[in-house]
């Protein structure tokens, strides 16, 4: 084989091109703008944070809407849109005055009428709002800045309820949006919050862009939880919807995104070993995982069978399928691990490692006759998926006849509604377990209540009382009583608690550390 001069020239040109390609390509993949933060926060499919209880909708709401009150880092309510407020001597009439400078993204001012319409709409969905609507004699605007809530009887929990961070939060919308029925979505995305939704750059299913609301006037107090001044330090936040977790991680590594919400636990070692990345638990109290049993069907219509499950579960073993040891803990209080109402009433059932023998005994006492136990296996939720499999194996070990039914979110929701199941798993933030009035998962009102439908009139009477008592000590005493009943009727079996850290690039700092929802203000992005 001979090499001609022409071949050499061709080779030289090819080599030169090949060598120059990396620099050309690098120029096309330059790091993102330092004033833009890119966050992977899940799939935002429902914009209306009143219609949906999904955390993604709540995050969207936090960005573009504002709230009358908000919880600080110690979960105490603080005024946010409200400037001044007061309560009458008989504690039946609350007066609220909006602070100066509040305006909608369309340029019009926020009025008291907007707030009234928003409270009324919020009152139509399962939330603290329903309680307020039940108790309200009148909710009306007095002038452009002032509105009142008149009550039929005092409601000690009113301000806490208005400030609740349990989804759906009371986001204030324009009157014309809030006048829609609660079942009809508001998609205008015009709020009065610290970020404006950029409709022109919205790419449903791909990314949504939030621009700093330059007209937003933050409160003077420093940011503290969801309360205080919502100061925005970046020009733009891009909500990236990267559905594949491995791709999200690769994008984080390469600097294409700055933040990944809830990365899978098997990626923790890789994140920790990368000098540019960090894991950070924004929700310091973690999430409580629990299972519900169908109290309307065999075998769990028998309380002994439900009690068997309470004794059977080895919480540490269950949670190790979800996260490493350092991120998990057992939880024995019905009110979570770190809420003001956490207590040890009636927790004698807890035994490290579980108690299969006791479970078998209770199952025999329940007269279990081999009925099929249908466990819903949530294929769209990695943790739930694996817990379901683990649980099925655990139940089979004590002789139960288990049928695992795989279901994506939509199928699972339908199965849950029509009742063709025995057990399903879910989780919620530890904080959510401190709100028995607004959180349907903490109810025990039978078929009128949440999936599983446990019933205890005694418990419901105490839950109704919760809203009326004034002091923390009184509510803590109620919590002990409620927990005693819950661990007798066993509407819920706790599976344990786990921290779900977010992953971020170290250049992104100042993230608000609060339960469940992710705030976009206060963040700073370094070089």
């Amino acid at each position: 084989m001979t090499i001609s001069r022409r071949d050499l020239v061709k080779l030289g040109i090819a080599a030169g091109t090949a060598i120059s390609i990396p620099s050309v390509l690098r120029a096309q993949t330059a790091p993102a703008d330092a004033r833009t933060v890119r966050m992977v926060l899940g799939d935002l499919s429902t914009f209306d944070p009143i219609v949906s209880t999904a955390y993604t909708s709540g995050n969207h709401g936090l960005a573009i809407y504002d709230t009358l009150f908000a919880l600080d880092s110690k979960l105490r309510p603080q005024p946010q849109m409200v400037g001044k407020w007061g309560v009458s001597d008989d504690k039946k009439k609350y007066t609220f005055e909006l602070r100066e400078g509040l305006g909608w993204h369309d340029g019009t001012p926020v009025t008291a009428a907007d707030c009234v319409a928003s409270i009324r709409r919020w009152g139509q969905v399962p939330s603290g709002g329903t309680l307020i609507m039940e108790r309200a004699r009148d909710i009306s605007a007095q002038d452009d800045k002032t509105f009142i809530i008149s009550l039929k009887e005092p409601l000690g929990l009113l301000i806490e309820t208005l400030a609740s961070a349990s989804t759906p939060l009371l986001f204030i919308m324009r009157e014309k949006d809030a006048n829609r029925p609660a079942a009809e979505q508001v998609t205008a995305n015009i709020g009065s919050g610290p970020f404006k939704f950029n409709q022109a750059l919205a790419k449903p299913g791909a990314s949504f862009t939030y621009d700093r609301n330059e007209k937003y006037i933050p409160r003077q107090e420093p940011a503290d939880g969801f309360a205080g001044g919502k100061v925005v330090n970046v020009d733009r936040v891009i909500w990236e919807n990267i559905s594949d977790q491995q791709t999200s991680f690769a994008a984080l590594q390469s600097g294409e995104v700055d933040f990944v919400y809830d990365p899978p636990a098997d990626l923790y070692p890789a994140i920790k070993s990368d000098p540019n990345l960090e894991l950070q638990a924004l929700n310091k109290a973690g999430d409580v995982y629990f299972m519900r049993m169908n109290c309307l069907q065999k075998p769990f219509d028998n309380v002994k069978a439900r009690q068997a499950m309470l004794h059977l579960i080895d919480q540490e073993a269950v949670m190790r399928t979800v996260a490493p040891q350092e991120y998990i803990s057992a939880v024995t209080s019905f009110f979570g691990n770190q809420t003001p109402y956490t207590n040890d009433e009636n927790t004698g059932w807890y035994k490290k490692g579980g108690d299969p023998e006791k479970a078998k005994q209770l199952l025999n006492e329940a007269g279990y006759g081999g009925e099929t136990v249908v466990i819903l296996q949530h294929t769209g939720w990695a943790s739930g998926n694996i817990i379901a499999q683990f649980l099925a194996a655990t139940l089979r070990k004590i002789g139960m006849n288990v049928d695992l039914v795989p279901a994506d979110s939509a199928k699972r929701s339908e199965l849950l509604t029509n009742g063709s199941w025995s057990i399903f798993m879910t989780n919620e933030s530890d904080y959510d377990r401190s709100t028995p009035v607004s959180n349907p998962t903490l109810s025990a009102n039978g078929e009128a209540g949440w999936f599983g439908w446990p019933k205890s009139d005694e418990y419901e009477a105490l839950r109704a009382k919760w809203a009326n008592v004034e002091t923390l000590e009184e509510r803590q005493a109620l919590a002990r009583e409620m927990q005693r009943i819950q661990w007798d009727i066993v509407g819920t079996v706790l599976l344990g608690s786990a921290l779900s850290p977010i992953a971020r690039r170290k250049t992104l700092t100042g993230l608000i550390e609060m339960p469940a929802l992710t705030a976009m203000w206060n963040m700073q992005k370094g070089a």
Partner: protein, 313 residues
């Protein structure tokens, strides 16, 4: 020819009507409740019922179908149950990434696959043939997502040459657009390169063994003339068929590629819509994709006459 095209178009209408009925029934009879996805897990049955009522999901199936069919005939594909945006607008937003990656994949696979096939047939039994056959087997066997993550690891995280994910519209510059599509195109194109190469090789080998090829060689025809003027033209029909079918199947590969490389295309639109049971979107996309599929088949059939003058309709 005109009568044939007319016949095919009429049959296309019948096919599309069947597709419409099938898609509608399949979705509505499959388990899943969009109201539950909208409202979230903590919604009560009362709230779910109100949302279903609002979305018209409580109406009898036949009434829903008639509404939908009449709307489609009027060119209205409905609106997303979630975002409320018109389906055609959502599809049009997603078309560009899918068309971009499809065109690049077609160009890459046809040029490379046919070249590899010709080369392998020309050097049949030799080292080049063995290498290309091994490559084709590998390319055909390894799943798209494995190739995708391997390429990401190599060129994006390792070498920092290319972006991991995302899409830049062509209006923002040809360079960024192209750079974001290199890895997805390679990942998606590999099995098609392999498939086309194998079929081209087999078809070329068959033609190369014909008597007239030996005659051409005896007459002193050059290798180029033999391969491209005599063999490729005669081997063209099966190759064209495979190319046509490959790109009709491309959509399934696009779904995975768009997920791995986070491209906001039609594939991901369908997957997201399926997960949330956003019926109008799924129905709209499937009707359009079916239409394109039928059209590609028609074009492939018509193209036979260009390659092989003996074929007449």
């Amino acid at each position: 020819m005109a009568a044939y095209i007319l016949r095919r178009l009429v049959s296309t209408i019948a096919v599309m009507a069947m597709v419409g009925i099938f898609v509608f029934l399949l979705l509505r009879l499959a388990p899943g409740d969009p109201a539950a996805i909208i409202a979230g897990e903590r919604a009560t049955p009362q709230v779910l019922a109100a949302i279903r009522q609002q979305l018209g999901l409580n109406e009898p199936l036949l009434v829903q179908f008639v509404h939908w069919a009449l709307s489609i005939l009027g060119g209205d594909f409905g609106s997303s149950l979630f975002s409320g945006r018109p389906v055609l607008e959502l599809i049009s937003l997603r078309l560009e990434p899918t068309i971009s990656i499809s065109i690049l994949t077609i160009i890459l696979s046809v040029t490379t696959g046919v070249s590899f096939g010709i080369l392998a047939a020309w050097r049949a039994g030799g080292l080049v043939d063995r290498i290309l056959t091994a490559f084709a087997t590998l390319g055909f066997s390894v799943p798209v997502f494995v190739v995708g993550f391997f390429l990401i690891y190599l060129f994006a995280i390792g070498a920092h040459w290319l972006p991991v994910q995302g899409y830049v519209p062509i209006e923002n510059g040809l360079g960024p657009w192209f750079v974001h599509l290199i890895l997805p195109t390679l990942a998606l194109g590999l099995p098609y390169i392999a498939f086309i190469a194998r079929v081209t090789r087999a078809s070329m080998l068959e033609v190369l063994s014909e008597d007239y090829m030996r005659t051409a060689a005896a007459k002193g025809a050059s290798s180029y003339a033999m391969l491209f003027h005599h063999a490729l033209k005669n081997a063209g029909v099966p190759i064209l068929t495979v190319i046509g079918l490959s790109f009709a199947y491309l959509i399934s590969g696009v779904v995975i590629t768009e997920t791995v490389f986070n491209l906001p295309g039609i594939g991901r639109l369908v997957v997201d819509a399926l997960n949330s049971r956003d019926y109008p979107i799924i129905q709209g996309v499937l009707i359009l994709v079916s239409g394109v599929y039928v059209l590609i088949n028609l074009l492939v059939d018509l193209s036979y006459t260009l390659v092989d003058p003996r074929i007449r309709y």
